[in-house]
Amino acid sequence: MQCHEFEERMHTLLDERRLPQSDARLLAHAEQCPDCRLNLRAWEVLSQNLDQASSHLPPGGFAQRVVSQLEVRPAEYGAPTRYRSWLLAGAAATAAAIGLLAVTIGQNRHRPKPAPPAIAAPDSPAENRALATSPVVDIGPDNKPVNAESLTQEQSLQASPAELSRADVDSLQQYSQAFQSLASQVPQAVERLDEVEEATPGLRPVRTSFSLAIGTIRRTIPPPRKAAPPPKPAKGDSSGLLTIGDQLV
């Protein structure tokens, strides 16, 4: 038996939890080789002291100290953290939605109401035309904005002063129309976003916030990296393979 075989066999026996000191082949080689004999003796000393060390115990009252440090709350004990995180995320999303709604409504409430005399008593055709060219822009089914001038004079005259004074109700209808148009004709509507905002001023702060957010994200995202060079083959290893231990250590 060679010395490297002695070492390999010793490790194999130890891996199988067998005593190398009682292996006949190892002992035979150790009789002839003082170096391997010393290795065997070193392992003997080591294993004896490992056995002694397994009797290490913490000081008395250790378990009591651990448990006393633990705040036991059975109601929360063992509650899965994933559930808690979903709950928090849900609460945050709801709060954000409520905040956005409040801002939008607030913007709409502070919008100046149209002057009642200009609309309430249309006496002449010129006044009717002025009323018809109000900033409300609707987008028709043919992708073109429906011009207020296309409305008939009769339709304009049908608007009673009582209806026109309900600015809040009107603005809600305008919102609804604008959003419907936006949803059905997105590409065209995006081009006319300014027109939509004119009709629905509440959208402006939302759009500004989104633009800011997208701008910030674009600035913070790093530029794409260059492709990494291919790894070099290991020296002295014709097969190009390394053992797991060699890679890690």
């Binding site: 130890l14 891996d15 070193a42 000393v45 036991v72 899965p80 797991i244 231990g245 060699d246 250590v249």
Partner: protein, 191 residues
Amino acid sequence: MTACQAIDELRPLVKSCLAGDQTAMLALVARFQGQVFGLCYRMLGQRQDAEDAAQETFLRVLRNLHRWDPSRDFEPWLLAIAGNRCRTALASRKRRPNVEVLADRDVDDPSGHGSANHLAEEVELALRDVREEYRQAFVLFHEHELSYGEIAVAMEVPLGTVKTWVHRARRELIERLRSRGVLEEQRHAVS
């Protein structure tokens, strides 16, 4: 006692712990404190540090007991947490370069085995010089008698890596004991 029997016995204890039963928690800590403290002591080399690490380990274990998979062995899971605590303690110790770690010595030696204590100290010093991953794998295999597979799971590395680490730890420990002349002294003491 087989591993299956041990798990069967452990399940009701864990269930009681999860329900907030302090007596069950005490029983659980008392049952595994030797293993956890032993590993922490081997890894850190100081009783006080080992006690702190063992205490943190059990606090984490008791707080995260619901994460333990009852179909698996408890001990590798527990010792994995203890190993992580020790590595954190070692990392924080490295950040404080002025702290010198001295091996604890058993002051009271009722048996009067000075030579045996000296050897134990030499082994401890040799272990401390070994890289911490090697040391953890070696201690888990030879002292706690975990299989290579269990150590691989506990340390989250491939099985082959664990084997390599244990072999290297053995080689280095033998080499260190030889280079310090411990075996020569032994021989002279015997003759």
